[in-house]
């Protein structure tokens, strides 16, 4: 593959700008914001009308045949910088070895630019291929005009237009000057390839930036260098949202190497407490000096209303709320109370999971220059540069009082995202510090401790289940009283924190004949937000573990019991949406076959297999985990089998399997982690008390895709949720101990 650097030394021809016929710009339809779960604090701006496709935004070809493709979405490790250009290149019939990929800046002309919700695949599958198909047709039209033959007589080979009758092949580079002058075609006239002719889609394409990564090239946000740049450290109140009363800024300013030190006041919208908050900034000639000076800061804080909150208090309140009448009922089918009363057997259990931190390996950072002319330039590793309440443009515009057209955002590769960089607090901080430091460019870097202690956490939650079985062991009723976190909104109404919901229609709702879902909330003062597979990563553990427990109580094989539930008719009054049970049944059956589920009775004591499935982000995943628990309680996952159905096409298989493997490791890692609070602040600090799974505990993985006829969907998230309950259920199979609370407590797993 060619190197991206050569792009600047070539003359490229851009294609004529606007295509006719209402071709839609990729991703311009804003997806429902399920990445956030939370009510927006500030209203989202009105959505612009869909602009026509502009091929010149995506495709440029040089006379030597080099093809430059723009990657429109932020890259944080999900492989989108390689995958979206593959879609264009396929229908363009490009020679992949002649392709160079460039990262687009944040710009409304690209439509929605977000790394979240696994939306990129379903939203771009058609529009990005249309871009390639339109450019290919224009190259054919140019060749047809040159040879004076009908367009219908032409085909293409990689980067060549072919006229078979005259045995003529013309390279794209020779045609581009003519093609670029043509009027782009109507969308209706575009012929897309038959998938059997794909040369790029479905082939393993190495991540575009991999060669740079193994050479240590400076491609991450934290590597940004701007002439004249200084370095910033920013200290906020350990209690979320606290305010600065006094600070010894003069003392800090006098230290060697320190350029400036000042109090920054909260400003603009602070959605989910993740905007510009009060703090003290230290600016220095190098970052380490700024950070070290931070140790000498003496700040008096007004800790605000959250200062007495603690995990112990939440746990007590949750237990009290679980016993009290629920605050609201959000779903009811049949008569669950009567069905429980009449059941041959009932099962009752409470499940709980902790708050979690995202902790991508690249700490939060951003380089910003609030210039004297009133413009702002930002180099941000962000998943979401948009105008939304949490987006980088939106936060900077409102906190600094600058118009959007005065802000430039360069999207720089992020060292992991996992949802953390959907909040852009670090970006607005950098911009505010740059402005206040006298309009000099600054690179703000957070310490790992700041990252762990100022995260939009995945909220903890408390599920209180009851299930009823009839005399044949069929599940006839399910109730859940979910206890979760909220805060009063502007109108004083208690409102769920971001990502603190549990879907009232969670499976097996709308499958079991009688179902009821209740919810109660308690006050939570911490910031929260979407963590990879938001909501799903939490509730899947609770529901798919409880289903296992009910299966055992019914005396049934947990995998067969799940198929039995998926086969249930739609109950009267129920309304099924989302998951297609037939697609799920297939992956459940397949993972049973691949894992040797039927033979698990022969496993020795201390070794067990467990299963779970989950539908999220339009993907269908079933997994089986095999776990070994030593008699001292030490446990490890030996192997995970995963079967996923994400539709007709695995666009880049080498990356697709990598996402599944990573999701499985990530999910197991979460079973070891927790964030707790005391005195209104986070207790954990760094990777020694917030452990990441390591090489020696990473299992073997069998990742398989079940191909179906549906349009392809995304893979950043849906493989994660089922691994937690699959592992927890395997621990039960190995030891007889049911995991009802995370993280897994090794001491409770001892056996003899």
């Amino acid at each position: 593959m060619a190197d991206g650097n050569i792009v600047t030394s070539r003359r490229f021809f851009l294609f004529a700008s606007a295509a006719g016929g209402g071709l839609l710009l990729a991703g311009c339809v804003t997806p429902p914001d399920t990445t956030d779960g939370a009510p927006a604090v500030a209203a989202e701006p009105a959505k612009p009308a869909a602009p026509p496709i502009n091929m010149d935004h995506y495709v440029a070809i040089a006379p030597d045949g080099t093809i430059r493709l723009m990657a429109k979405n932020p890259e944080v490790g999900q492989g989108i910088k390689t995958m979206l250009p593959m879609l264009i290149a396929e229908e363009l019939d490009a020679d992949w070895s002649k392709v160079v990929i460039e990262q687009a800046d944040a710009d409304a002309k690209y439509g929605n630019q977000i790394a979240g919700g696994s939306f990129a695949t379903p939203n771009h599958w058609v529009p990005q291929r249309q871009v390639g198909a339109a450019a290919r047709l224009m190259l054919i039209q140019a060749a047809a005009a040159r040879l004076n033959k009908p367009v219908e007589e032409f085909t293409t080979e990689p980067s060549m237009v072919v006229h078979a009758a005259s045995n003529t092949k013309i390279p794209y580079g020779d045609l581009v000057a003519d093609a670029a002058k043509l009027t782009p075609p109507e969308v209706a006239s575009l012929k897309m390839k038959d998938p059997k002719d794909y040369r790029i889609i479905g082939k393993p394409m190495r991540n575009w930036d991999s060669p740079k990564i193994v050479r240590g090239e400076p491609i991450f946000g934290i590597d940004t260098v701007v002439p004249g740049m200084k370095y910033a450290y920013f200290e906020k109140c350990p209690v979320f949202g606290g305010k600065v009363v006094t600070a010894n800024t003069d003392e800090i300013k006098a230290l060697p190497g320190i350029v400036d030190c000042f109090v920054v006041k909260a400003g603009g919208p602070i959605p989910t407490k993740m905007g510009l908050l009060d703090g003290v900034a230290i600016v220095a000639d190098d970052w380490w000096t700024a950070k070290e000076a931070g140790k000498k800061l003496k700040i008096t804080w007004d800790e605000g209303v959250s200062k007495d909150e603690s995990t112990a208090l939440y746990d007590k309140q949750a237990a009290d709320l679980a016993k009290a009448a629920p605050m609201s009922n959000l779903s009811k089918v049949g008569d669950a109370a009567a069905a429980l009363k009449g059941a041959a057997k009932t099962v009752e259990a409470s499940y709980t999971y902790p708050f979690l931190v995202h902790a991508p390996l690249e700490p939060m950072n951003c380089t910003a220059h609030a210039k004297a002319d009133g413009t702002v330039e930002v180099w941000a590793p962000t998943q979401r540069p948009d105008m939304g309440a949490n987006g980088a443009f939106g936060l900077i515009q409102q906190a600094l009082g600058v118009a959007k057209d005065k802000i430039t955002i360069h999207m720089i590769r992020g060292g992991g995202g996992f949802g953390r960089r959907l909040d852009n607090d670090y970006a607005v901080e950098a911009a505010a510090i740059s402005k206040q430091a006298g309009n000099i460019p600054v690179k703000l870097i957070w310490t790992r401790e700041q990252d762990v202690q100022h995260d939009p956490y995945r909220p903890g939650g408390y599920h209180n289940f009851k299930a009823g079985l009839d005399k044949d062991g069929k599940m006839v009723a399910l109730t859940n009283h979910f206890v979760t976190f909220g805060r009063p909104n502007d109108a004083g109404v208690m409102t769920l924190l971001a990502s603190a919901n549990s879907p009232p229609q969670e499976f097996p709702a709308n499958y079991v004949p009688n179902h009821s879902y209740d919810q109660s909330m308690m006050m939570g003062g911490m910031p929260t937000g979407p963590l990879r597979a938001p909501t799903s990563n939490a509730v899947c553990f609770a529901y798919q573990s409880f289903i296992d427990e009910v299966a055992i109580a019914a005396g049934k094989d947990p995998l067969a019991f799940r198929l039995e539930l998926l086969n249930l008719p739609v109950p009267t009054g129920a309304n099924r949406t989302g998951m297609n049970p037939d697609r799920m049944k297939d992956v459940v059956r397949l993972v049973g076959e691949r894992s040797g589920w039927a033979n698990r009775a022969s496993l020795p004591k201390g070794v067990g297999m467990g299963t779970a499935f989950y539908f999220s982000h339009q993907g269908y995943f079933a997994q089986v985990a095999k776990v070994k628990v030593d008699n001292n309680g030490a446990w490890r996952v030996l192997k995970v089998w995963s079967v996923g159905d994400v539709g007709s096409t695995i666009i880049n298989p080498i990356n697709a399997h990598n996402q599944v493997e990573g999701s499985i490791v990530d999910g197991i890692s979460e079973m070891h982690q927790k964030i707790t609070f005391d005195k209104g602040r986070t207790v954990q600090t760094n990777f020694y008390d917030m452990p990441l799974l390591r090489m020696d505990y990473a299992p073997q993985i069998d990742s398989h895709f079940h191909i179906t006829s549906f349009n392809p969907t995304g893979l950043g998230e849906p493989a994660l949720p089922p691994v937690l309950p699959a592992v927890a259920n395997a621990i039960f199979a190995a030891t007889g101990k049911r995991i009802r609370s995370l993280p897994v407590n090794q001491n409770e797993l001892r056996w003899s």
């Binding site: 991999s210 990573g662 490791v665």
Partner: protein, 160 residues
């Protein structure tokens, strides 16, 4: 502030720095070698892994005053050794990367492992690599890439 003369990637470099300043920040902010990454600051993640005289060191907790005459090798120069080159190639052939942020440290740790132990077992890999966290969870591929670079059987021989 004091003056330190360092041997970095075979070149002699002179820097003015506080003696307590970690080698990581000297490399990144004074010598503009940004391949070595900041992840935790407390030797808990391995993103800052470099070689001192060929052995693995965590640059985030190595004060510049403690480096002395030791040869510092960073990711930018790892391709100059035969083993380092093989590791880089294996990383690309297997396509280990997701976000890629930890991978410079992983490549450094893997190169030191194979240089000292040309045919590492799964247990050797577990031991040598356990200080290098990958938040994206690419461990299956890191294991495969190390074996590819070493030219040993790629089958995962651990208990299943």
């Amino acid at each position: 502030m004091a003056t330190y003369t360092l041997n970095v990637n075979g070149k002699t470099e002179t820097v003015e720095a506080d003696g307590a300043m970690p080698l990581l920040w000297v490399l990144r902010d004074k010598l503009d070698l940004k391949g070595t990454k900041f992840g935790c600051g407390v030797a808990s993640c391995g993103a800052c892994t470099v070689h001192l005289d060929g052995k693995v060191a965590r640059a985030c907790v190595t004060p510049v005053s403690a480096v002395g005459a030791q040869r510092v090798t960073t990711i930018e120069a790892i391709g100059q050794s035969k083993v380092g080159q093989a590791v880089q190639k294996a990383w690309l052939d297997v396509d280990v990367m997701q976000c890629g942020y930890c991978q410079a440290g992983q490549v450094m740790a893997a190169t030191a492992l194979i240089a000292a132990n040309p045919a590492p077992s799964d247990k050797d890999i577990d031991t040598a690599m356990q200080g290098n966290a990958c938040r994206c969870g690419t461990y299956v591929r890191i294991r495969e890439a190390i074996k590819t670079a070493a030219g040993v059987d790629k089958k995962d021989s651990r208990e299943v």
